[in-house]
């Protein structure tokens, strides 16, 4: 009961903020609502007892990436961007893409309908701390993909540094 | 010092203000304690010119308006013509430009033609080692034909002596800027412009230094009156005729 209430609250918050992100003209305000949307998602994670995911969402997305976003937005000249032609002329394309996406999600739900509702939810108290689970899977079962992803990120980072440097 | 200045002056070198300590000397030995009250006790003769003080003081150098008769004390300090090696060197180099060489209270003064100021300045720095422009200022003598004295106080580190160069400048007569010789003249000339309205030719940024840009008049001129400005302000801002 309480769980559901919390879920709907966060879900509504996330959707509302997401809408505001794309409708605000002021980029900084958009960024703020994006942070809100991310935090609301984090709240849903917490509601699902996925504490580790919750905190990763907060630290990485809200605390790390969005700070950089805001940083950059503050530095660029917003007034110029405000008068420029935006991409929202392509609403027709966007509509098609979102319709396709919605159809996909609906199909996925329809296909997995049976399994989705038959698996009983585990009682929250009996779950072992999921931080350990995440670590176990990352460093055990999915070691190789994890390392590949790490190297990919490293390459991206080095590339960014090289590109950002004015003179070598 | 008034009493002994007469007897001490002849043996003293022409450029006054001299001491044994060259700038490079580390902590010089203690000077002779208090026997001679004059500050330039251990003077060393760099350019001795016995003639300097022997010549009777000329009354009233052109730079001075006729003052009241000197007080009845014995031999007050007075400007006197100067002729020593330094002056001779200057005179041979810039024959016509050195209008006068004076010694006033044991300080050497060269009066020069304003239009050759830059040349003389460069020579002073490069050949005579007057590498520090201590000060640049002006004095206003409104009754004179060329109303301003432009005064440059120079100092030479190697020689440890001072020299004052004066150029007589008329109102609205442009003077060559010495900024290229001594960069410090930048602000000093701006200040002279600010206070006296002397225009320096070739100055990189000649605008008022201390007073606001919109200031009217040049305050250190003798005929400047703050009342004009005050009344103008009162008229403009308060709409009445006089503030004073």
């Amino acid at each position: 009961m309480l769980d559901q209430g919390v879920f709907y609250f966060f879900a509504a918050l996330a959707i509302l903020s997401a809408i505001l992100v794309v409708t605000r003209r002021n980029a900084v305000q958009s960024a703020i609502f994006l942070v809100t949307a991310l935090l609301a998602t984090a709240g849903i994670f917490l509601n699902l007892n996925a504490e580790f995911l919750f905190i990763v969402q907060v630290i990485l997305y809200a605390g790390g990436i969005m700070v950089l976003f805001v940083f950059v937005i503050m530095l660029v000249n917003l007034d110029v961007a405000l008068h420029q032609v935006q991409f929202n002329r392509q609403w027709f394309v966007a509509l098609i893409v979102s319709a396709v996406l919605a159809a996909q999600v609906a199909a996925a739900i329809a296909v997995s309908r049976r399994t989705l509702y038959t698996v009983p939810a585990a009682p929250a108290e009996s779950l072992e701390p999921n931080t350990e689970r995440v670590a176990f899977y990352l460093f055990h079962n999915y070691m190789l993909p994890f390392e590949i992803a790490s190297i990919l990120l490293l390459v991206a980072m080095v590339g960014a540094v090289v590109m950002a440097k004015k003179r070598v | 010092m008034t009493n002994d200045s007469e007897e001490k002056q002849p043996p003293r070198p022409a450029e006054a203000e001299k001491s044994a300590g060259t700038p490079a000397a580390p902590s010089a030995s203690p000077f002779a304690p208090g026997g001679t009250p004059s500050s330039e006790a251990p003077a060393k003769p760099v350019a001795p010119s016995a003639a300097a003080a022997a010549i009777p003081p000329k009354p009233g150098a052109p730079a001075k308006p006729p003052g009241p008769p000197p007080p009845p004390k014995e031999a007050p300090p007075k400007p006197a013509p100067l002729d020593n090696d330094l002056v001779r060197r200057y005179k041979t180099r810039f024959s016509g430009a050195i209008q006068e060489a004076l010694l006033d209270r044991r300080q050497a003064i060269l009066v020069i033609a304003a239009d050759r100021l830059l040349e003389i300045a460069r020579y002073s720095r490069d050949e005579e080692d007057f590498n520090l422009l201590v000060d640049l200022t002006a004095v206003d003598w409104p009754k004179r034909e060329k109303r301003f004295d432009l005064v440059l106080n120079l100092y030479s580190f190697p020689k440890n002596e001072r020299l004052r160069i004066k150029a007589l400048v008329a109102e609205n007569e442009p003077v060559p800027s010495v900024e290229s010789v001594w960069p410090t003249a930048n602000w000093l000339e701006r200040e002279a412009f600010d206070m006296f309205g002397i225009v320096f030719e070739g100055h990189s940024n000649l605008k008022r230094l201390l007073l606001p840009e919109e200031w009217q008049g040049y305050p250190l001129r003798k005929d400047y009156d703050i009342l004009q400005q005050d009344e103008a302000w009162v008229r403009e801002n308060l709409g009445i005729d006089s503030g004073q």
């Binding site: 503050m74 530095l75 660029v76 000249n77 007034d79 | 010092m1 008034t2 200045s5 001491s19 300590g21 700038p23 000397a25 580390p26 902590s27 030995s29 203690p30 000077f31 304690p33 208090g34 009250p37 004059s38 500050s39 330039e40 006790a41 009233g60 308006p65 003052g67 009241p68 000197p70 007050p76 300090p77 007075k78 400007p79 006033d104 209270r105 300080q107 003064i109 590498n131 422009l133 201590v134 000060d135 200022t137 004095v139 206003d140 106080n153 580190f157 440890n160 001072r162 001594w182 960069p183 410090t184 000093l188 206070m195 230094l209 201390l210 007073l211 606001p212 305050p219 250190l220 003798k222």
Partner: protein, 380 residues
């Protein structure tokens, strides 16, 4: 956004980031411009690419005032220029007028003048050290410095009743006889003072942060310093061993033994060390001077009405900030025809632009501090 920033009193030329320059206005109401200095900085990011000083906010027309006062009346005004070192200002002015008159202060007066002026130099340097350290972020030295400065001000107060704008000297000597315990007070101060300077050094000299903030900052080579007309400790830190107290002794400096500290690289750290050492040397002079204060009159033979014969004089002393010169022209009346004051702070400040180029905004603060300017003197 550019438009928004313009209205906020600053001026963004195009954007904030990138190669474009920002104009940052520092002062006249900035906590570390030491009064009412205003510096317009052109910044590339946080790096200074150029600057312009706007001064004159404290201009009181001292030179003009002088032309309407007689010689004695003008003497108190000079105290208001470098209000951190009023005694030195007074000494310069009094000696200049004495030279103009052709009189000289009696030996006793000159020794006492030397003592007070050296104490004033210590006080001025202490104030500089405190505020300079504060600018760089060290809060505590300020209060230690003010504690010692207080001792000096107390001596001034005992001597002439005033602490800051003392008007301690008169033309021809001094008005007041030294009070009985002057020697004792000075000695007591000097006895403690050496340890106190060590204390400041313990806080700063070896401190990594302090060294990092001052070494290599605001470098002024000897040639550049001379070209910019810089004098005083700033010049000496650039390696020029020149001190008017030695080069052209005045007051009673020729009787005492002291050395002229110099720096090597002419950076902020050297200027700091030079001034610290100067305080020690001043203490040494004070100790020598109180050993033997000659007896005799304190006021020379000057009349009540001063009428210097026509002529002119340039006399300068080694003020705490540099060469403090007075160029006085007399027309033979009781009022000076023209008094020109050569303020050391003005010329030292002129070198600021050169010193801060290529540095960061934080260094600007450090360099302004290290120049030891007093706006009262810059603007007069």
């Amino acid at each position: 956004m550019a438009e928004r920033y313009k209205t906020a009193g600053t001026n963004v030329e195009t954007t904030v980031l990138g190669a474009d320059e920002i104009i940052l206005n520092m002062g006249p109401q900035h906590p570390s411009t030491h009064g009412v200095l205003r510096v317009k900085l052109r910044l590339d990011g946080e790096k200074v690419v150029g600057s312009e000083c706007v001064i004159g906010y404290l201009h009181r027309g001292v030179e003009k005032i002088a032309e309407h006062r007689n010689y004695q009346q003008f003497a108190p005004y000079v105290d208001r220029m470098d209000y951190v070192a009023a005694v030195s200002n007074g000494l310069g002015y009094c000696e200049a007028v004495e030279k103009l008159l052709g009189v000289e202060a009696p030996p006793r007066a000159r020794v006492i003048r030397t003592i007070l002026t050296e104490l004033q130099r210590i006080a001025s340097h202490l104030f500089w050290l405190g505020t300079h350290a504060l600018d760089i972020g060290a809060l505590t030295p300020l209060f230690y410095c003010l504690r010692e400065r207080e001792e000096i001000l107390k001596i001034f107060e005992k001597y002439c009743g005033a602490r800051l704008t003392t008007h301690a000297f008169r033309i021809g000597g001094m008005q007041y006889e030294a009070y009985d315990e002057l020697e004792k007070d000075v000695e007591r101060f000097c006895k403690d003072f050496d340890k106190r300077v060590d204390e400041y050094e313990a806080l700063l000299t070896e401190n990594r942060i302090w060294v990092g903030r001052t070494k290599g900052i605001g470098v002024l080579t000897a040639d550049a310093a001379i070209a910019m007309g810089v004098t005083g400790p700033v010049l000496r830190a650039s390696g020029v061993q020149w001190d008017i107290r030695k080069a052209m002794p005045y007051a009673a400096y020729d009787q005492y033994e002291f050395s002229i500290p110099t720096g090597k690289s002419g950076d902020t750290y050297d200027r700091y060390l030079v001034r610290l050492e100067e305080m020690r040397q001043s203490r040494k002079i004070c100790l020598q001077a109180i050993e033997k204060i000659p007896a005799g009159p304190i006021l020379g033979k000057v009349g009540k009405v001063l009428k210097p014969p026509p002529g002119e004089i340039y006399h300068s002393i080694e003020g705490p900030k540099g060469e403090l010169g007075y160029y006085i022209v007399s027309d033979g009346t009781t009022q000076p025809y023209r008094v020109r004051i050569r303020p050391p702070s003005l010329m030292n400040l002129e070198a600021l632009d050169q010193m801060i180029r290529g540095h960061l905004v934080a260094d600007v603060v450090a360099v302004i501090g290290t120049l030891d300017i007093v706006l009262g003197e810059v603007d007069r």
